[in-house]
């Protein structure tokens, strides 16, 4: 069902912001958008409101049955709508999205901040494992201590 259309009487075109909005176009989610004649025509020709060339960057074809377990959107649908359905889409389509990210950003690896409060289970750091090891030794839990020592050694060898 399409959403209620706002009266574009007072509005200028949502795209160019220069001409009065005279036409309403609904996007693929049923959201209304008010455009002038020229912009409405362009939007309908290109078939999408923004990011017109994004589908070209989401090229690799995946089997149709491979849908995201979180929102059940297929890769083919994602290519058409140029938006992902949910955070799980990123995990499910990781390999295909890696190629898209290279084309979009020139990178595939995040190099910025991490959330203040991690959304997933907290990743152990060498410092936190050392702390657990010290506590296990102090409490004479030697089996736990040996396991923690091996884990710490593995982390230290794995780090550059």
């Amino acid at each position: 069902m399409k959403a209620k259309v706002p009266k574009p009487c007072c509005m200028y075109c949502q795209r160019c912001q220069m001409q009065p909005a005279s036409r309403t176009v609904h996007d693929q989610w049923g959201q209304p958008h008010a455009f002038c004649e020229m912009c409405a025509t362009q939007v309908q020709v290109f078939g999408t409101l923004q990011k017109m060339l994004l589908p070209a960057l989401m090229q690799p074809s995946l089997p149709a049955q491979q849908s995201c377990p979180g929102c059940h959107i297929s890769w083919q649908q994602l290519q058409q709508q140029s938006h992902l359905g949910c955070p799980q889409c990123y995990r499910h389509f990781r390999a295909a999205l890696g190629a898209t990210m290279t084309r979009l950003h020139g990178h595939t690896q995040h190099g910025g901040r991490h959330p203040a409060r991690p959304a997933g289970p907290e990743k152990p750091t060498p410092a936190s494992v050392q702390q657990q090891l010290d506590q296990a030794v102090a409490e004479q839990r030697f089996e736990d201590a040996a396991e923690l020592r091996d884990r710490l050694r593995g982390m230290q060898e794995g780090s550059p």
Partner: protein, 344 residues
């Protein structure tokens, strides 16, 4: 809504002759919920409750339920760059959360669950980034933002993933336009991974020699690297714009003066002004003020004029809906009034 405080309009910032404002925008989503375009209204309402509950703990912030805002008022928010045109037109459950001076604006349930922006006058990216990241950290203490070790902060559109950070500056470049060098600058900006857009963002046209420069790449570089890069590029564009203005003064002073004074005369006397013509003359007036060719006109007045002459601003001014032809008359009257008030 008419008396909405807007720091970027009322105050002046560094490099104000060329830069109207700097903006940092962060996109965030809550883990466990589909992104707004694919999310059912019930779940969107849950997101809205979670975000507004946390955001309302920010001191003196105002929560605006967008479903209760009149279309003219929501368009006024677009004209003041506090919300996007798509957010104004949307019918999803959504709200806007504003700091007292409107520097910080949070759109809840736009394309992403949370779009946080800090908008400041002049060229002040570091300041805008500092303020935006403080608010983001506060929200992130209780809100579980969707995050992935490889793709960073997860956003509805992959073009925003990673840092979710879009830094943009609104630049006034009449000097470069005059010497026909804008196209060249835009090409070079594009080669640096930045993009140039119209005044109201994606898909909008530029008017009055006003453009928005913003970063395109959000995944890979850190937030600080993105901010440093756009700041350096804007500094360079400002340098070229100032050189162009100086060269024009040296070589064609009388012609520049004539154009600026003609624009002032038209704005002081015209009875009908469409948006394009008004923007064009205000642009010349801004140039004249910056070059000290036209005395005693405050830059803040011209910045305010650029916003108040937009359709929703005019309708708020007149108190009723206006047909396009009526708007041109009200616009001309408002400009005459603003200029004569300043003379008094």
């Amino acid at each position: 809504m008419k008396d909405l405080q807007c720091a970027w309009l009322g105050e002046l910032g560094p490099q104000q002759g060329v830069v109207l404002s700097s903006r940092i925008r962060l996109a965030r989503n809550l883990d466990g919920y589909p992104f707004p375009p694919s999310c059912r209204p019930g779940s969107l309402s849950d997101v809205l409750t979670l975000v507004t509950d946390r955001a309302s703990q920010l001191p003196d912030y105002t929560v605006v339920d967008m479903s209760r805002v009149h279309p003219v008022e929501s368009h006024l928010l677009v004209e003041r760059h506090l919300i996007s045109p798509a957010f104004a037109a949307s019918t999803r459950p959504r709200s806007l959360i504003l700091s007292p001076d409107s520097r910080i604006a949070l759109m809840c349930n736009e394309e992403d669950h949370l779009r946080l922006q800090c908008l400041v006058p002049g060229l002040q990216f570091s300041e805008a980034w500092k303020q935006a990241s403080e608010v983001e950290e506060f929200l992130g203490q209780t809100l579980p933002f969707a995050f992935d070790e490889q793709f960073g902060y997860l956003t509805s559109c992959p073009s925003n993933a990673g840092t979710g950070l879009r830094a943009s500056a609104m630049l006034h470049l009449p000097g470069l336009a005059w010497i026909n060098a804008l196209e060249n600058i835009f090409q070079q900006v594009g080669q640096l991974g930045l993009t140039v857009r119209g005044l109201y963002g994606e898909g909008t046209q530029s008017a009055g020699h006003l453009v928005q420069v913003s970063n395109q790449v959000t995944l890979g570089p850190s937030e600080e690297e993105i901010v440093t890069k756009i700041n350096a590029v804007c500094d360079q564009i400002i340098h070229y714009e100032c050189s162009a203005r100086r060269q024009l003064l040296n070589e064609q002073r009388l012609v520049v003066e004539d154009r600026c004074w003609r624009s002032l005369a038209i704005l002081r006397e015209a009875r009908i002004l469409d948006a394009n013509e008004a923007m064009q003359h205000i642009s010349m007036l801004r140039l004249g003020v910056d070059l000290a060719l036209i005395p005693a006109l405050p830059m803040a007045l011209l910045n305010e004029m650029l916003v108040r002459i937009r359709p929703a601003g005019l309708q708020m001014e007149s108190g009723h809906e206006l047909a396009p032809a009526e708007r041109d008359v009200v616009r001309a009257r408002l400009i005459r009034q603003m200029l004569s008030d300043n003379q008094a």
